[in-house]
Symmetry: C2
Subunit: 352 residues, 2 copies
Amino acid sequence: MAATRRPTLADVAREVGVSAKTVSRVLNEDGPSSPETRQRVLAAVAKLGFQPNLMARNIRVGGPDTTIGLIVPDMGNPFFGTVAGGVEDTVRDRGLTLLVGSSSDDPERERALIQTFLARRVSMLMVVPAVGSDHAYLKTQRAAGLPLVFLDRPGAGLSADCVVSSNRAGSQEGVTHLVARGHRRIGFVGDLPTRLYTRRERLAGYRAALEDAGIAYDRSLVTGAHDQRTAAEVTTRLLALPDPPTALYAANNIMALGVVAELARTGRKDVALVTFDDLPLAEILEPALTVVAQNPAELGHAAATTALARLDGDRTRARTVTVPTTLIARGSGELPPRDRPSAQVPAPARRG
Amino acid sequence: MAATRRPTLADVAREVGVSAKTVSRVLNEDGPSSPETRQRVLAAVAKLGFQPNLMARNIRVGGPDTTIGLIVPDMGNPFFGTVAGGVEDTVRDRGLTLLVGSSSDDPERERALIQTFLARRVSMLMVVPAVGSDHAYLKTQRAAGLPLVFLDRPGAGLSADCVVSSNRAGSQEGVTHLVARGHRRIGFVGDLPTRLYTRRERLAGYRAALEDAGIAYDRSLVTGAHDQRTAAEVTTRLLALPDPPTALYAANNIMALGVVAELARTGRKDVALVTFDDLPLAEILEPALTVVAQNPAELGHAAATTALARLDGDRTRARTVTVPTTLIARGSGELPPRDRPSAQVPAPARRG
DNA sequence: GTGAAAGCGCTAACAC
DNA sequence: GTGTTAGCGCTTTCAC
């Protein structure tokens, strides 16, 4: 069965005995058409199984395609999946279709995806920037009016709209929650080394909370990991310190999994814990997990709303939208420090 | 700043002082070109920031676009996110771009998405069919050679390639695990009422396991729920039966969350549990959760491989690929039935 | 090695 | 109410 040619407007027109333009008029409800031709055209369309070629249409009409390009680090991460869902829900009514790619947080892959999307003349571009990528090369597109929104993290090299969570304030709130329960040695388990915006912000929130409480920053309590396994490892390392933390703060959902798993594995129920990002089973852990929850669907929604406004001609200055986080106190942050004076009195230094 | 027109091939040609065709030749490495013109063309491309219009190219070349249409029920569900990732990883090398849409399991939405994708002349279509959707209308496209793969569940109304998990065998293995520990009353918590393929299969596996063990099927032990909350509710209802189950089997990840949460909330550590689908924290629950794990990335990979083979001219009969599941015994399935004779002896009926 | 002309499927602009 | 012509940005075909 050879791949038969798809029918075209001309085929339909021939079938009905009218001009191509008439068929086009009927299908797009553009200009007038007699009820009778209308019927016959629609019948022929159904008979031939004609489907207008959107690309051909687009090329003639000019302007951007009715697609939107979205780049995330990893679609399997429910955080980004939910972000994508938020975007789609918001643009659906406008008849826009989602073009999605994962960068795996690799700047080169991100750039290749952006090039592909630009070649497809997407109507807007929404990017979760990979660590270390520079977007200066997009200046021309921006100037030409392409809506560009950075998601979750700001882009580098040009000013553009940006939608992020309240990483710093949320982090500060979470750590303050621990400080208020008397903890003075609070371990930080964060993601990739430096450079990544969200880590910087969340670390800054951690430091701000300590500073507010008059607690000196101790570099040895701040650790970095890349995945659940390494997060578990640094948890062990932190708790083995001569003067170990009495509470931990995990800076994202992957780190949270690692810390939670490690505390469970070693049966440590005496360490208070707050995590950034909610987990599906947070409520049923013992103790139930206290988290600073993000709102990924709203992140996607806000990004789409911003981009749509640009598409509709909004030429005001680039703005940053901050989507608030929510502290959900469930119990794991309530533990007081053990074997230590509570509240503001510094713990005696125990070395060796 | 008015939206300036994007530069075209003709613009580049004018800049260099050659014909459009020469520029096209250079960029596509089609036909010969002198090193010198080559340089000048590339310089002009860079200077003008020219990006070939992929849609225009496609329209001229004919044939399908280099996109692939993927429809899932919900992108926020990590299962489908991971499936999408598996697809993308597999098609990336072929230069294909992913067009993604969520159907929310609504047949009308699914159909609208498919129409849009067809209008975009996708090179292949991969669909997780919504409950109750009929795909007979795609026969023409299939006949015309469009690769079509149903994912996770078979489609209805036409024969097409299909990639599914070993739902029945996996389910049977999970329930047999419980039977082998002496359970004879095993509650089933499944998803949407009837009609959904995966539920049918998983229920069939449950029944097969019982039958193998000579246990009569008890309709009152089989319950349906739609989300985590209702799964928790039916768990309660099951355990409140006059002759309650001593073990539970949850037929997907959402059900699993509901059952696990409810058992934890009520402190029931005496009920054995096996779930279909793994959970991120399964290992650290108490007892650790025994699961029948699916392999969503492999599902996406297999679907993409199949579709690519079709694209490359494979015209053999439609096939169904079954991706094996894996029983991961972690502990929650090890509990013997309490207050009951073990193994093959039937429990005394306790009524009222 | 390069160019001119035609045409992919569709619609804008103008006829009538 | 309908048809004609031209042209979107690109590539194919054929000529030089």
